[in-house]
């Protein structure tokens, strides 16, 4: 094909806008704009598109996260079922949680209980309180050995984050489930997944790779904290140092 001389193009003397408009109005397939895709073109387009979608949506998450099982299972539902287990007192659900996940005297939050807490009930390694295999394993491997259980924490925030449980749970009267979900009702501990790059538990970003969240507890990123603060009318708590150290 012969290449059109630049002269054919209107020079900027009579204004570039007009020339531009001309071109758009005088648009036709043979014009100098990029012609649209042919059918063949679409195939090639899709050939590029689809594998990448698969890569991004399916393969990427698998590669990004490592999975580790918890050292042993813990049945929250069982422990919180008064017919099965007594001794876990508390009028409200929160109180029940706090029975094991307790506040220390100085107001700091103990998080996952230490062995000492467990042995308040499971005191004798030789006489299990139930029949479950995990309990037996627990008694022999940890209670007898006086070894702490190396639990993996789903909601461990990075070191730069300061989170005051007491401010939220006691002063703010926020239910545990709002952030942690209905752990109380679970019988099995979910698999712990860790982001290979960041070292965060998957539950911080959320189990949905796109970061889509349905419930308040689906994600624990900074924006989620801020969102709630705002919703509760505590804008002032979005100041950096309230949640960072």
């Amino acid at each position: 094909m012969e290449k059109p001389a630049y002269s054919s193009a209107p020079s900027s003397k009579n204004g570039f806008i007009s020339s531009l408009i001309n071109r758009i109005l005088k648009y036709d397939k043979s014009s100098t704009f990029l012609p649209p895709f042919s059918l063949g073109g679409w195939i090639f387009f899709l050939a590029g598109l689809i594998p990448n979608l698969i890569l991004g949506w399916l393969i990427f998450p698998m590669v990004l996260y490592s999975s580790q099982p918890q050292p042993m299972n813990f049945n929250h539902a069982l422990h919180l079922n008064p017919d099965k287990v007594d001794g876990i007192e508390g009028d409200t659900e929160t109180d029940k949680c706090l029975f094991c996940h307790e506040f220390r005297e100085d107001g700091t939050f103990a998080g996952i209980p230490k062995l000492a807490k467990c042995t308040e009930c499971h005191d004798d390694p030789d006489s299990p309180l139930g029949e479950s295999a995990p309990e037996k394993a627990f008694l022999t491997n940890y209670v007898a050995e006086e070894k702490e259980v190396p639990w993996l924490c789903y909601s461990r925030q990075p070191d730069c984050v300061y989170f005051s449980h007491i401010a939220h749970v006691k002063m703010g009267e926020i239910q545990c489930r709002v952030c942690h979900g209905d752990h109380a009702k679970t019988e099995k501990l979910p698999v712990y997944k860790e982001n290979r790059l960041t070292g965060y538990s998957i539950d911080i970003w959320g189990r949905n790779i796109a970061g889509y969240k349905r419930h308040t507890w689906d994600r624990m990123k900074m924006d989620d904290c801020a969102e709630c603060h705002t919703k509760m009318g505590h804008e002032e708590n979005n100041a950096c140092f309230v949640c960072h150290k």
């Binding site: 094909m1 290449k3 630049y6 193009a9 900027s12 570039f16 020339s19 100098t32 704009f33 990029l34």
Partner: protein, 412 residues
């Protein structure tokens, strides 16, 4: 051997010679490469920057090249918006120089910040009050614009031009270049300004602090003005250098003279304002802070000579030279004037960065001085090398100077 790539009807040196010519620049790039690796891998302890000299050589380089690169947008502005046709012959060169300067600057900034991987926080968590945010946004956008402005020039390469899509694409870009020229001008005005603003808003540093208009301190406007005054000079210098090296006439005098004339007037007006600003500062901000002029130049290498050099020798003098038609038509004087102007701008940026930080604010604090490490020089020099390399390549394989063919007919 690479002849099919070389534009039609122009003469270029042998590939061998060209390769030899690129060696020194490749060398500089290698030096820079090593430095960059060290700085990124080991951290900025590789430099002599410190808590006192938070900004140093790199930022000086950045501001300098950005100011000098202003030739691109300003020439573009004159060409496409004002419609100074004759500048069409130099606009390509201007654009390429601009692109070099800006891409170099951005690369340098990438290494200068302590956490490059988080660099994008500037955009994501932008603090709109920070002049640096304004700078970053404008520079990034403008770099894209420059890229777009550069593309058609690349596409005019003989081989690429053969591909119809690319040809059409490039051609159309050409057509709508004015849009980008306009955008570029707008963006550039702002970041040149905000670069100046960065220092003017250091209200707690009497040496840099300035009054201003609305959110913009005077330095904001002074930097714009100085940039558009010096930019063309730099463009001229580069083309002149190219002509020297290629022993060819590449740009019609008319284009050069137009630029020279314009920058003469800009420079003149800049000097007037700059002096006004200096006086305003001297009789306003300085005494208010309980200081006297000489307090800033009491000790260390950074003395009053800086003021003389910047305002008189590298300001007023070149302005006068460029304003006298006889003088600026004389090659030697023209180049001298352009050189002085560019030096003046670099000096001005240096003063606002290094000298500003060297001067203690607390009375009981002491004066510090600073010498860059070879790693810092490496990065800076790499930009120079990269500039030469890119420009040489462009010159060799692209019709950078449209009039070259006519000015140097190849006799066969």
């Amino acid at each position: 051997m690479d002849s099919p790539l070389i534009p039609e009807g122009v003469k270029r040196c042998s590939p061998k010679l060209f390769f030899l010519w690129t060696l020194p620049w490749l060398g500089l790039l290698a030096w820079g490469g090593i430095s960059a690796f060290l700085c990124l891998y080991k951290g900025l302890n590789q430099t002599n920057m410190s808590n006192i000299f938070a900004f140093a050589l790199w930022i000086v380089f950045d501001l300098a090249v950005i100011a000098l690169g202003a030739g691109a947008f300003f020439t573009g502005f004159l060409t496409y918006i004002i419609g100074k046709g004759e500048l069409k012959n130099i606009i390509n060169a201007a654009v390429i120089i601009g692109f070099i300067c800006y891409s170099g600057a951005v690369a340098m900034l990438g290494i200068d910040i302590g956490q490059p991987i988080r660099g994008w926080f500037i955009f994501w968590h932008a603090n709109v009050h920070s002049m640096l945010v304004e700078v970053s946004f404008c520079i990034t956008c403008y770099l894209m614009v420059l890229g777009i402005e550069f593309i058609p020039i690349i596409l005019e390469n003989r081989q690429l031009d053969k591909v119809p899509e690319l040809h059409f694409f490039g051609h159309n870009l050409h057509e709508i270049m004015a849009v980008f020229a306009a955008t570029g001008t707008f963006l550039s005005f702002f970041h040149q300004g905000s670069l100046g603003g960065m220092y003017g808003v250091m209200y707690a540093r009497p040496f840099a602090a300035r009054g201003g208009f609305y959110v913009w301190p005077w330095t904001f406007f002074l930097f714009i003005l100085s940039a558009i005054a010096a930019g063309p000079c730099f463009t001229i210098l580069c083309t002149k250098l190219a002509e020297k090296i290629t022993r060819k006439k590449l740009v019609p005098d008319r284009a050069v003279q137009t630029l020279a004339k314009i920058s003469a007037w800009l420079l003149a007006s800049y000097m007037v304002l700059k002096i006004a600003d200096t006086l305003g500062w001297l009789y306003g901000i300085v005494p208010k802070a309980g200081l006297q002029f000489m307090d800033f130049y009491r000790e260390g290498p950074y003395g009053v000579w800086l003021v003389v050099a910047e305002l008189l020798i590298c300001g007023i003098v070149p302005a006068i030279i460029l304003m006298i038609p006889k003088a600026r038509e004389h090659g030697g004087w023209l180049i001298t004037a352009c050189l002085l102007t560019c030096t003046g701008i670099v000096l001005n940026r240096f003063v606002f960065i290094v000298v500003n930080l060297a001067i203690p604010v607390m009375p009981f604090d002491r004066f510090w001085s600073y010498l860059p490490t070879w790693q810092e020089w490496g990065i800076g020099m790499a930009v120079v090398g990269y500039g030469f390399l890119l420009f040489s390549l462009a010159y060799r394989y692209l019709p950078v100077f449209p009039m070259e063919k006519n000015l140097n007919p190849v006799s066969e």
